[in-house]
Amino acid sequence: MKFIENTKIKFMSFKKVGFALSATLGAGSLFLLMLGLNLGIDFKGGTAIGLSFDKEVSIQEIRSVMESISVGDQEFNLSTEEIKYFGSNKEIMIKIKSQDNTPENFGQGIVNHIYKSMPTKVPEDKNMFILSLGAVSPKVGSELSGKAFWSIVSALVLILFYISIRFEFKFAVGAILALVHDIIITLGIFSLTGYEITLSTVAAFLTIVGYSLNDTIVILDRVRENMKSSGTVLFESTINKSINQSLSRTLITSLTTLFVIVVLLMYGGEVIRPFAFTMLVGVIVGTYSSIYIASALLATIYKSSN
């Protein structure tokens, strides 16, 4: 197979197109971000309940059962909370925003209420009825958000540091901006699709940071090597050459990674889907940004400093 050998694509001639595209996508994403992200209970606090019924149930049915629930000595109307299918029509995921005065064992109280109210559709063993139950207090939610934010920032700073040592600071700037670009656009797509952001999404984000960088560094490595042989002068042609030289590798690795991610999306099950989705978006955006953001920015930075 030789379809991507010896390519001589002038990537940098389309630099402006790339910048324009990224700027548009970035601005669009920032705008979408302002409209809001679907933060999961990990960051907002609240209760998430996964239930497994014996027979098919309708969302409407669950809603009406949830109209009046008494937990502890309080009454709740939870019919407007988020209720959706989780895999099949027998499985339901309920997400409840954190309430002002959440009583003790709120989640269990809701489970017990639904269990009692739908006796013909639930399994005999109540333990088989509960798929999962998560509850996060608003306080822990804000702590987790803070931690997630700082983990991404500290990963970026450490990587900036590493590239500055191994390459040059100028290289690092391009690489980091490319990563920020990837994260913003991926977040934008999350906002657009309404996918929920959870702890495992943050893990996926950090993996994208690592992956996208992997790509960038392979190209930058070539740039460094080609600069040495051409006498440390950096021209757009050097960058073009470097991208072309590593193009087949970039595409093949992206492909094998995409293969497994698509498999995960298709067969991995409901729990892993948000993770796989993040990775899917991130790998595509990351591959693009190594070429058009990291390398192109490097060319621009060198041009302006010379």
Partner: protein, 597 residues
Amino acid sequence: MNNTLRTRLLSILFIFGLGIYALLPSIRYQLLSDDAKNNLSQDELTYFESKSIKQGLDLKGGIYIVLEVDLPQLINTLAKNKDKKFDKFLEELSKDYKNNSTDFFTLFEEKALEKDLKLPKYFISYGKTKDQIIEQLNLESADSINRIIEIIQNRVDQFGVAEPTIQKQGNNRVIVELAGVQDSERARDLLQSTALLELMIVKDIESTNTIVRQIDNLAAMNIEKTNDDVDQLFDTNNSDENGLGFSSLLIAVGSDLAISTSNLSKLQNILNQDNVKQVLDATGSLFLTGNSAITLINDFGEEEEIYLLYHLVDNAELTGGVIEDAQMRLSQSGVSAGQATVQVEMSNEGSREWARITGSNINKRIAIVLDKKVHMAPVIRSQIFGGGTVIEGMDSIQEAEDIAIVLRAGSLPVPVTIQEERTVGASLGADSVSKGTYSMLVGLFIVILFIIFYYKLSGFIASFAVIWTLILLLGVLALLGATLTLPGIAGLILTVGMSVDANVIIFERIKEELRNGKSVRSAIDAGYERAITTIVDANLTTGIAAAVLYQYGSGPIKGFATVLFWGIIVSMFTAIIVTRFIFDYVTSKRTIEELSI
């Protein structure tokens, strides 16, 4: 084969062997039938548990709970000479603390300053200055969390969970992980219940009637007050609810009072009103409900769920501290024969107290109150010696067993609240494992097919490397005693996709060198040499991301970070050292004119 090749082969075989050896216990355990698993002796079980790859809560099912000491409650318990100002202060403080992750005592200090609260007035036994008091209260809080951990440890041990982990987080939280626990409701109750046992005298009927009338009058006054408020005037619903008064909520059941389940929230509203609280304080009494609902047929012939309501002297005659032993027993005689009860034995000192209390309160009723719920309120017929008592009113044998456990293990010095909980049912976990394994196999198959299609014979070498990457990675996880979580499985699958990368970089380099006219032998050497720096640089940055994740993450995420990190290390080994050896070995045998790549 020359000497250096032989040494390389031996070291590679050694590492492969080590990987397989580390995986053996996990494989053997997986191959056992369910029956055989149940019949393992304790020693064998410990062996498998310590040597196999552990499954995280999200795969095995189980419960993860973060409990936090109810610090405002602790402060409330420690304070003396409490007045209205203090109550107001504490109420605002606990509201602020609920939504704020700032350190509690920092908030405490700020709020005290804001409210101009003279701390020595309430905490004189802890110091004379603000700083002394706060330091001492801090110590009290640290002490209480340590006692709580000890007690919870005790309870969990008696509950019987395979591998519980209980750790302290920060200075006022404790994380409890119970893997494989099916009945999360029961486990949660066991962990969280304060298990405060109190024996309280029940007020006589006359004084109860008096206080009900007083509260009725106050409730009426409150409605007039709210009706003065123009905003409230049109809110007819609201005034209707309050307008029912206190006595109209009550139902007489024999000589006891009771309240319908649907009226519980109204009852709490009334009891929480300031002037109602004052009346109750003045008489030194309080209202508590029974521990479980009773179904009655009401005046309209309908079934109605009710709770018994007790009016008690707000001062425990005796508390759970005097308990020496508690056991579940099936009742032998009387109307309750066959029902589960908890038999309590008291210490010597407790027995003496108990004899004195029962002696001086003959013909009065004494309520046995557990965590502010009345279990029973029998009439004291005669003085009781010997310190034995029986608690009735349990719904099931299981409940009685659990109450016996918590009474034996002791009560928590301060209540705890659940800050975070993650329960995974066993079925969801098993489903995740099978879907994860399936995805991994499919992913592996597609990647290998693609690599062989693209790189031909060299593709076989790369595929060989990918398969060994997986085996060695699992071996490392077993050696480290790492926990495999669902994101960890995703990490394994990702490693399959990404570990090919190092080989791709090398192969592309070799192809390039070949195009530049180098011989097969020197192209391989140059390809590997040049690719190594790229591979190390590219992989180390992913390693940095993995290390940060490990630092930041909780259980499942940590599992992912571990897999990602070791996946990088292992894939560098197989891609650089193992495949290089195969190329070198083949080219040393005979001169190859054309490389199949």
